[in-house]
């Protein structure tokens, strides 16, 4: 596990070497898939038009549909249960799929791991940083570190909020989410050292009623900028807009939902990864086992600034983006969690595997993971 991650970090540091090269140091030379037509099955956890995670994926998948020898078949609203095994097996057995992309976090373990063992001739790729070299070689991960874009959100929010009280509606207290919250705080504190982030966990990836309640509660508590990490940010963004506070987006562009208060948003740029997949498939190559990145290799982005962003906020956010592209670290110690424990001593690389195990909220975040 550790070995893989270290090699991954070293790859990322080499940065500009590019994706195809990134696969090589891991020892998986690209193998020709010859002229076999690729039947690509894509499985989504929610609807493809959810203004969030699934939409971001689905829009980017379009690029794969343009490759001549690739046929894309898609299935949406497949829950993270045994249903995903059955859907993928159905794609393999009934449609002849030979490459499967699972786009939801919970598909991986145990479902896709078991499927990769059962169908060694089928390639499986999953959109989260979970694969390691103890797992089947016909399985792999691709992922972008969205916390970098949340940091930029924080910078813009910190300079667009009159009070410095920011609110965050979060799904579950897992490392990826916690890192987004903490990065949002650090971004805000980089421009306003007194800024705070109040967080409410809904407990579910998609629970619109609770998301609306949480958003209202945060506004009632005095927050004047809201953001979120839930599958479909539509409810939080619309609630913020209707309550007259500003907001930052997540996953996809929610600018049109909040014409008055939208500042900017953290977006995945899946199209970078899928274009690379498309190129490789067109050449008949096997996809690498690990593809990860962030701002430095164009895998995340921030939404176009909305009316809520002040001119200073735009300037500072643009500067932050430029700095992140240059490898500026987000987690610079010493940092304490909000219980007073020292959690980060020195400067952490943005892709340090230690950060993948984040289990705390930093000082300045109001809220608890339990």
């Amino acid at each position: 596990m550790l070995e893989t991650k270290i090699s991954r970090r070293s790859i990322l540091k080499s940065g500009a070497a590019g994706f195809a090269a990134a696969a090589l140091p891991l020892g998986f030379a690209t193998r020709a898939m010859a002229q076999t037509p690729v039947i690509l099955g894509v499985v989504y956890v929610g609807p493809r038009d959810d203004f969030g995670w699934n939409q971001a994926q689905s829009v980017a998948i379009e690029v794969l549909k343009t490759v001549p020898n690739v046929t894309v078949i898609e299935e949406e609203n497949v829950p993270e249960t045994d249903a995903v095994t059955q859907s993928m097996e159905s794609m393999i057995n009934l449609d002849g799929a030979n490459l499967i992309l699972g786009t939801s976090f919970g598909y991986f373990d145990p479902f896709m791991i078991d499927l990769a063992k059962k169908y060694p001739d089928v390639q499986f790729r999953h959109a989260a940083p979970l694969w390691n070299d103890t797992m089947p070689m016909n399985l792999g991960s691709y992922f972008a570190y969205l916390n970098q874009a949340h940091y930029v959100n924080g910078v813009a929010a910190g300079l667009s909020s009159p009070t410095g009280k920011l609110g965050f509606v979060a799904a579950k207290p897992i490392p990826t989410v916690l890192s987004n919250i903490n990065s949002f705080l650090l971004g805000a504190r980089s421009v306003n050292p007194a800024a705070t982030v109040q967080v409410i966990f809904t407990g579910e990836w998609s629970m619109p009623v609770r998301e609306a309640e949480a958003a209202n509660a945060l506004v009632d508590a005095g927050c004047d900028v809201l953001t979120c990490h839930v599958d479909g940010p539509k409810v939080v963004i619309e609630t913020a807009e209707s309550r007259g506070v500003k907001c930052c987006g997540h996953n996809a562009d929610q600018g049109p939902l909040a014409p008055n208060g939208f500042i900017t948003g953290a977006e995945y740029k899946w199209v970078t990864i899928y274009s690379m997949f498309a190129d490789m498939l067109a050449k008949g190559e096997t996809l690498p086992n690990v593809v990860v990145g962030g701002y430095h290799n164009d895998m995340v982005q921030n939404s176009a600034y909305g009316a809520g962003a002040t001119p200073e906020a735009i300037a500072a956010a643009d500067a932050a983006i430029a700095a992140l592209k240059g490898g500026m670290p987000i987690y610079v110690g010493p940092l304490k969690d909000n219980q007073g424990n020292l959690v980060i001593e020195g400067t952490m690389d943005n892709y340090d595997p230690v950060l993948d195990g984040m289990s705390y909220l930093l000082e300045g975040v109001i809220g608890s993971t339990t």
């Binding site: 829950p79 249903a83 859907s87 097996e89 490392p175 289990s359």
Partner: protein, 365 residues
Amino acid sequence: MADITTGSFGGGASTVRLRAALEKIAIPVGALIVSALLFSVFLLALGKNPLTFYALIWQGGFASSFSIQNTLQRAAPLILTGLAFAVPATIGLTMIGAEGALVLGGFAAAAIAVPLVGAEAPVALTMLIMVAFAMAAGAMLTMIAGWLRHARGVNETISTLLLTYIAIATMNFFVEGMLRDPNSANKPSTVPIGDAYKVGTIPGTDVHWGLAAGLVLAVLLYFLMYRTTFGFAARVTGGNPRAALAQGLPVGKLILTCAAISGACAGLAGYYEVAAIHGQANASLVAGYGFTGILVAFLARQNPLAVVPVAILFGALDASGGLIQRRMDLPDATIQVLQGLIFVVLLASETLTGRIRFFQAGAGK
């Protein structure tokens, strides 16, 4: 047939029984056909070919050994949750809490397995204890609703629905708290039971033993409800609780027993979700099988034996849902629309019971 119809006033008890049985089959089957026709109109309105649609259901649900196994995998939990609704329905209780009992049962099985697996207890013993805990946990939940119904007059439909939320919240509380496997950072789960303690598949198939358990229970419960004095008493109570009380039937005991059977069936489904599929308890247990089971039991008219083919039909619909999405470019909700349509048509068709002459002929009217 005509001469029998006209000439058998009170004659031939077997004819009467046959026609009564025919009615029980003909009405749901008729409702299915009407739903299919209505749904075809819906498809035509979308510019899709209904024949392709039904052909894909056949292909995805039954046409190959893979399809049949896929169907049976999906049917396995539905048989058990269908029974969980059907049994209390016989005694007049509308208990819709199978989802909660399934989740709590699965959670109880996974939780008790943690120390047993840790102590490397014998596999058979561990499985037995897990099954017992799963069924007991499920039964406990529904018995609360049964007791509230009998002792306090609380509507059991509402209480089972609310208890479902409590059951799910209870599982989340422990799975995200004291029983959380520290290695499950990203998806809070209990400690995995490990492959050695998992239930295998029926030899030669990919279908787990939960299917066999469902079949056995369906037969047993049919005998219990239709061939024993207990079942007779339960059905009398279902028909008229006051009359049952006046006759001195132990209504409270009957209600609690039926509620317990309901929860135990759903709890067992939860056990198989944990022991055959997930290997641990986590949010994946909340998959909606408990609610689909209501639909299954309704279509089966609360008959435990009929639950089996209906569950298989729903398994096939689910199994072909993905294929329909992929081949016809229809939204995922298509199958849900069809299921909803079946449900509504079925409810409407209930009113036909006893009104079609053919089935009544010879019944002494």
